[in-house]
Symmetry: C2
Subunit: 192 residues, 2 copies
DNA sequence: GAATTAAGTCAACATGACTGACATAAATAA
DNA sequence: TTATTTATGTCAGTCATGTTGACTTAATTC
């Protein structure tokens, strides 16, 4: 498996060449080898989402609802704007999904105390219960995968996944992840 | 961050309890800790797909086209049925995307030599060129993430991602991954 | 010769993205 | 105080990509 560098057949590869140059100081991994990780990531993500997707169908929800419910539950009290920034979708797109979750009583909104324009989002008791059910198979999968990956996998995997995130997004990700709500600790988040 | 075990407030958690039992022999990871990996995986995948998605737009294609082109190029000569099994989508869903890729000259089909009902799929030269462009930012990202994850990350990450795949799918994944086409080696895959 | 299999197609529909325009209420600036 | 900006919500239309169900064609297998 030789290191292939064909300068032809590609008119617009400035980015790629820049990347190759950035890499060349250290261990040079072949494209074929790296593509294997891309495939594994695809398969892993494909199966990671399948269990909750099946459950969601019974509720008339989709994956988008799971994502919203997840971030609202785990980082309860976050603003709509925060959610948009995390999900990287448009307000209109979020709107529909969020509305359904609110209408069916899985999420509630409260006006911000400092800025009353803000709508802070909180899960209801049934919202937390639903999320728990959705997350359950994923938690099992993650625990088993970390175990299978061997000792020290937790740190390595965390570093790997973090580094896969756009550099400029990492501070925001760290910020939101540090403000995570303890599961079931604040039992009175569901206000009428 | 204490280990939270609340036996109440969840009527349908048989699966979760089973998972907890399966885990309990070894290191018990808290749900909160594990959920952090779920979030990282979401963020990683979100950003992993953003670069190629932007390029695809210029071609009037979507992520589905990238996936098809990827598997056809990297595992050229695979059957339509193989592709369906890999992608886990319906024939009709694949049909539309595949037809567009064929019509625009990125993929060609040849009847199988043993079984002439089979349509074996191959990339054209422009198909390979397009895939290269789509994969370029992902390869850079993967190489940098593996480097950032530290020594030994390649093996650990591979084991982790593999274990994230449904157990019954792993043999198939291994099988298809072992039959990967070397990039640019068989220059005459594009037959008229 | 009949049944099965691989692939393709037609039609209808759902989900979740998108753009663009506009409305409302609250905060902030002039 | 008035004007502007900001946070949110909403209407309308479009697109990509998934789904079900029914049916056809060609080739293989029983």
């Amino acid at each position: 498996m030789t290191d292939i560098n064909d300068p032809l057949s590609e008119p617009l590869d400035a980015k790629r060449r820049a990347g190759a140059a950035a890499q060349s100081k250290t261990l040079r991994r072949s494209d074929a080898e790296l593509l294997a990780y891309a495939e594994l990531l695809f398969f892993a993500y494909r199966d990671f989402t399948r269990d909750p997707d099946a459950i969601l169908r019974d509720f008339g929800f989709g994956r988008a609802h799971h994502r919203v419910l997840h971030f609202v539950t785990r980082h309860s009290g976050l603003r709509v704007a925060d959610l948009l920034d995390v999900l990287k979708i448009t307000k209109q797109s979020l709107g529909r999904v969020l509305k359904q979750l609110i209408d069916k009583g899985y999420i509630v909104q409260r006006a911000g105390s400092a800025d009353r324009r803000e709508r802070l989002l909180y899960p209801t008791a049934s919202g937390r219960a639903l999320l728990k059910r959705l997350a359950a198979p994923q938690l099992i999968r993650l625990a088993e995968a970390l175990k299978a990956a061997g000792p020290g996998a937790d740190i390595v995997v965390r570093r790997f996944l973090r580094a896969m995130i756009n550099a400029e997004e990492r501070p925001k990700v760290s910020s939101i992840m540090s403000s995570s709500t303890a599961p079931d600790s604040d039992g009175n988040a569901e206000v009428s």
